[in-house]
Symmetry: C2
Subunit: 287 residues, 2 copies
Amino acid sequence: MIFPKEVEVIEVGPRDGLQNEPNLIPLEKKKKLIKMLSEAGFSRIETASFVHPKWVPQMANSEEMAEYSRELAITYLALTPNQKALERAIAVQAPQIAVFIGATETFNRKNINRSIDQSLEECKDLFERAKKANLWIRGYVSMAFSCPYEGEVAFEKVRYVCDELIRLGADEISIGDTTGKANPKAVYERFSRLRDLYPHTTFVAHFHDTEKMALANVVAAMQAGITKFDSSIGGLGGCPYSPGATGNVATEELVHMLEQMGCSTNLDLHKLREASRFAKTLSSRIQ
Amino acid sequence: MIFPKEVEVIEVGPRDGLQNEPNLIPLEKKKKLIKMLSEAGFSRIETASFVHPKWVPQMANSEEMAEYSRELAITYLALTPNQKALERAIAVQAPQIAVFIGATETFNRKNINRSIDQSLEECKDLFERAKKANLWIRGYVSMAFSCPYEGEVAFEKVRYVCDELIRLGADEISIGDTTGKANPKAVYERFSRLRDLYPHTTFVAHFHDTEKMALANVVAAMQAGITKFDSSIGGLGGCPYSPGATGNVATEELVHMLEQMGCSTNLDLHKLREASRFAKTLSSRIQ
């Protein structure tokens, strides 16, 4: 088995974790959270989303979050799903941007009211402009294992989106098990195929712990050569309307396992646990 | 990666899971639990413990449980840590017996007030007599990764106990991560070494989910050739005095993952989930 010496954990809690939180969280508390995360040693944190606040009110103060991230010297990721969002990211000189594309037509249409090809067309202009502004680009592929509308997702659908994102110039692709239904065998097979198809592309694994398999999936992804994982402090995230559903794999649990296995993360587990306790006070879903 | 076509899951909830339950559970409820488990398709269930009821009052009605297990045609395991216990097992013609030995001197002394060598000496007579009565023997090695008194446990300590149990004629050895602190790397390494040292011995992996790594550990153990796993319905077990501490890996979560990976267990997941809901009503620890 492969247990890499070093692993990068990318914290997505302040954006992916908090965006669905129904209660508006005061800016000062969000700032405190990313300060705690920064002090725990993260090199990258997703802290902003330039989606229109009409759609995601929780992220309305992303300019302030971006500014504060810069103050803390965090290399932050900012979600920029369209040209308007990209303009805001360029205005604050965000170092890294991220776009989302669903692997299934139904999800993509329900989520952003566009076909996959329309989304990719939009990415083309967006990536060109982002590259001119020297922004580094992450592409998220959502529903890369199963989809709430279409069920199990064929690998070819994931491959199609990856093909296009890579062709358009994405610097990194995060493969998301958005429904939390991936199992270690599927993870190993899917990431092995991606590695063989795109040996020069950096892939990140993004797992949800809905069915308790997230850490097992991390170990399986490692066997396919993955060394970068997204996670969310305290397990923030998931759907606020289904109290039992868990969110992203919890950063502190992931880091604990990695460190126990001798995979260095350069993160301070004690500080992560403190940050987790604080993060949970911001969530209406986690007790 | 190795994903075996078939896996045996051995249910230990009715004994290992319930024995520490502080409230006495009526016999009828325990019978109902093993009936539900039997109907879910288990070939083996640990249903009895012939430890003196003074020490484990919860298991006082083990003769009745043994009798009922026979009625249900369950191949049951009965814990028989000493000659008196073995006599009771022989009297009811238990098909399979089990003994426990801690891998660390301190745990063994605190748990059963004997040195490891004294325990092994006792096993010698016990195994001889059990074999004459045609009983099949499982040896549990507890604290095979870490110990609450001695911390991390050296592999040589586990090896020593395995050596002796195998020499004395154990038919199967269950390696227990009793504290729930094992990680996938340690699991892979330890089971690989055991397989290389004892290629003809059947090993079972017995994980607790204390630190959320149980399912990841199952996947790691598979890579070392393990195809038998203990689990406890509803995650019963653990210490009743530390409410946060989880017990054995939950059978329904284990079986769900295995089936998702195409590893057949011959168990009915729907019935397991029903049994899990019932099991949780018996526990003062699980909500």
